[in-house]
């Protein structure tokens, strides 16, 4: 019996190949390294979309494979962005402050530098001290570790409490929404130490790389995003294609039965919930330097619901389905709401897509649920199987 990793996951090779081709093409046509046909803005959109595909894979793992409809994974994504954003903002402000003080008569003391940074960053929320949560913001390695640790720990504690009490189904979904809402509301406060509704901004400027233009940085970040997505895809495929994946699918299909086989359902749920939260956080940490700004609105409950819609439309329970759904819907969404889509004059009424996109999205969600419960990937599967027959 041929049972290698690739034999069990034929989609992995195709996916990696496609990903490499897209990234190479984008580089060839980029402003920094190629013909300049593709504006830097579009490179950034591509890079960001790859990150959204990565969080969609996380969502597919937790929902499509394990049956936990988490409506809170965007909170982990946002937290990942905040953690890397703190370093980006602090280190850059530090550079600027030191540069502006070089002309002073006396060299500035570390305290003076810190005070100046505090005023610079927290002036907008009426503060001047650097809050305690920023204690490690000067250190890239520590903040990188926090990208994984903070969302991971939050997911671990939340999941432990929820799964231990055997909260399942719609109740768990509501609980995850509550978590997201609470986090978002907390971050909206000015004294949260994370600049309230202003969020963290200027994240597209990478400290130490101030000479590199955005056109170059965008390509680097796009490659970084593609690498993360590729690794995430392989990791997810590895996770679900072995015995672990079988148990997780069994939990989705009949939780009580797998318990009687001696499996601790709670341990498995907690494991996959935490791992996917970490994947989401990593995706966020790569996304927000490309977006340039992270604020509490990003963590709003609706974002996590959209994530579920992407995966449902793309086809849950299939990794490439999640990727297709996230890429398609998020790109269409920014096209329709970005004002690029031409208005549709109907004579008696003009359809403006900025308003009507939501209706269109909602409608397609209903249609997919009714007529293609396995999403786009499901229809794709049917075609492939017909060809084979």
């Amino acid at each position: 019996m041929k049972n290698t990793f690739l034999a069990r996951n034929p989609s992995v090779l195709v996916f990696i190949l496609l990903l490499a081709v897209i990234t190479l093409l984008a580089t060839v046509f980029s402003e920094a390294y190629g013909t300049g046909l593709l504006p830097t803005n579009y490179v950034k959109i591509l890079g960001k979309t790859l990150c959204l595909c990565l969080i969609a894979i996380a969502m597919d793992l937790v929902w499509g494979y394990c049956g936990i409809l988490s409506l809170g994974h965007f909170a982990f994504f946002g937290l990942g962005g905040y953690m890397i954003g703190m370093w980006l903002m602090y280190a850059r402000t530090e550079d600027i402050v030191i540069a502006s003080m070089t002309n002073a008569a006396l060299p500035p003391t570390p305290d003076e530098v810190r005070d100046a940074i505090g005023t610079q960053i927290f002036g907008v929320v009426g503060g001047s001290d650097v809050p305690l949560v920023w204690s490690f913001a000067h250190s890239l390695p520590i903040q990188l570790a926090l990208v994984v640790l903070v969302p991971g720990l939050l997911a671990l504690v939340f999941g432990w409490l929820a799964f231990r009490s055997r909260v399942t189904g719609v109740y768990l979904s509501i609980l995850t929404q509550a978590m997201t809402l609470a986090l978002s509301l907390y971050l909206f406060q000015n004294d949260s130490g994370l600049r309230g509704n202003n969020g963290l901004s200027g994240l597209q400027n990478i400290p130490g790389l101030t000479d590199a233009p955005q056109s170059v940085l965008s390509i680097w970040f796009m490659w970084g995003s593609a690498l993360a997505l590729g690794l995430g895809y392989v990791f997810a495929a590895w996770m679900v294609s072995g015995k672990f994946g079988n148990v997780v699918k069994a939990i989705r299909d009949d939780e009580a039965r797998i318990r009687f086989l001696g499996y601790s359902v709670e341990a498995y749920k907690l494991f996959i919930f935490t791992v996917t939260a970490v994947i989401a956080a990593i995706a966020g940490a790569i996304y927000y330097p490309q977006a340039g700004i992270v604020n509490p609105a990003e963590i709003a409950p609706i974002a996590s619901i959209y994530l579920a819609v992407w995966v449902a439309i793309g086809g849950r329970g299939r990794l490439y389905g999640a990727v297709i759904g996230a890429a398609l819907v998020s790109l269409l969404s920014s096209w329709f709401t970005g004002g690029q889509a031409p208005d549709l004059p109907l004579g008696f009424y003009t359809v403006q897509w900025v308003d009507w996109w939501q209706v269109l999205l909602g409608l397609s969600f209903v249609l997919v649920t009714l007529f293609a419960p396995r999403g786009i990937a499901g229809m794709f599967d049917r075609l492939v199987r017909k060809d084979a027959a």
């Binding site: 699918k249 086989l261 359902v265």
Partner: protein, 246 residues
Amino acid sequence: MSALLEVLGVSVTFDGFRAINDLSFSIQPAELRAIIGPNGAGKTTFMDIVTGKTRPDSGRVQFGTPPVDLLRLRESDIARIGIGRKFQRPTVFEAQTVFDNLSMALRNERSPFSALGYKAGKSDIERIEEIASEIGLADHLKRLSGELSHGQKQWLEIGMLLAQDPQLLLVDEPAAGMTLGEREHTTDLLVRTARTRAVIVVEHDMEFVRRLECPVTVLHEGSVLAEGSLDHVTANPEVIEVYLGR
């Protein structure tokens, strides 16, 4: 020889209805026992209590030597220390292959980490093939279990029970939906299994119970009404009354 499973004075009430009423029951390490009783006698609730699904209001349930208090364990822990259960309606994982179903049931480490690193070794594959031929599914290992017939699913679930390698098997209506030949095979398998471990069979079908040739416990209104050979209990006037109605 001390009992493998000891149930002492257990009672459980659902919304004022006494499903199990001061029930005491015990079984030896290598014993076959049939439990019969009319609907609502508490047969399924009894299984639920032993497997940890339902917590009784009072009483004790002990298992193994030295005795472990089952009432303090979760379902998955109870399954792990050696109690396997086959449900009345066959419940297999239909989206997965016969091989994967058996592989999950196989007695191995159960933690997420061990499952991630698991690779089916030679001995595991051999054991799965051995079980598959025992349950007549050797040629169906790669099929999705959802595609199997009702009887085959029934067999697969019995196979999963064997793969778990439990000390005590709780089998709920194993012969339902089986042909005569399959029933004989099932009887055979259960009798053979009971040589090395304890098997409790819950069954409605008297003919099937007769073929098992084992002691019978009659449950009625949540407690033991009679115990003994099938001929002995069916001669009991109380049992006749319960079965024929008042």
